[in-house]
């Protein structure tokens, strides 16, 4: 019984033998990379990149709820991605505009 359920999942048209599974699953790698970068100095954060991460995360979070069927895996990965982008942006903005008094931020 359990074996056949696992088999059903394994052979699913959007299952682990297909790109429909691995591409969205790997998208978590972007968030993981961003979390690893939380410990990097804010001078090294890229505004364009983090804006892109945040915006794609937000847009795709919205769209994953309007496709049929709703894709909660896609939704969650994009929500987290947007979250990491917002956090990195906050770190950099705080560093550039709210801390240093002497040297102005070159960006």
């Amino acid at each position: 019984m359990a074996a056949s359920k696992i088999q059903a999942l394994w052979n699913h048209p959007a299952g682990p033998k297909t790109i429909h599974f691995w591409a969205p699953t790997f998208k978590w790698g972007i968030s993981i990379a961003n979390v690893a970068d939380f410990s990097k100095p804010p001078e090294k954060i890229s505004y364009p990149q983090q804006v892109a991460v945040t915006c794609t995360g937000l847009i795709w979070s919205r769209y994953s709820t309007v496709v049929t069927p709703k894709n909660w895996n896609l939704f969650s990965v994009n929500v987290v991605m947007a979250g990491t982008g917002i956090y990195q942006l906050a770190r950099k903005i705080r560093h550039d505009h709210f801390s240093e008094v002497q040297v102005p931020a070159k960006e």
Binding site: I30, I32, K40, A52, I59
Partner: protein, 106 residues
């Protein structure tokens, strides 16, 4: 005019998520292009490597998904190129692409 109407009403056109999702992903390409002008010390090894794998996978996804999504495919092909280039800039700055013994700080 007819071509525009066909595009506007297309099942993968601007009234659908099949269009705007990929458009959002072009942000990565633009960000990568902008970052090409910056010094390599600012490049994130983790993020750039993740992007290389991510866009490689999504090129395949865009090809296999129904309906086939050429806009997404071109977007990720472009991003793959940009991110691989950025990764090579990072590697070179770290000394990994030297012929002799690399120091490779990171």
């Amino acid at each position: 005019m007819a071509a525009f109407k066909a595009f506007w009403n297309s099942p993968v056109g601007p009234k659908t998520t099949h269009f705007w999702g990929p458009v959002a992903n072009w942000g990565f390409v633009v960000a990568g292009l902008v970052d090409m002008q910056k010094p390599p010390e600012m490049i994130s090894r983790n993020m750039t490597a993740a992007m290389c794998v991510y866009s490689g996978l999504f090129m395949r996804f865009a090809w296999m998904v129904q309906p086939r999504n050429y806009l997404l495919l071109v977007c990720h092909a472009s991003n793959e190129s940009v991110q691989l280039y950025q990764f090579s800039r990072w590697a070179k700055a770290q000394g990994y692409l030297e012929k002799k013994e690399p120091e490779g700080q990171h």
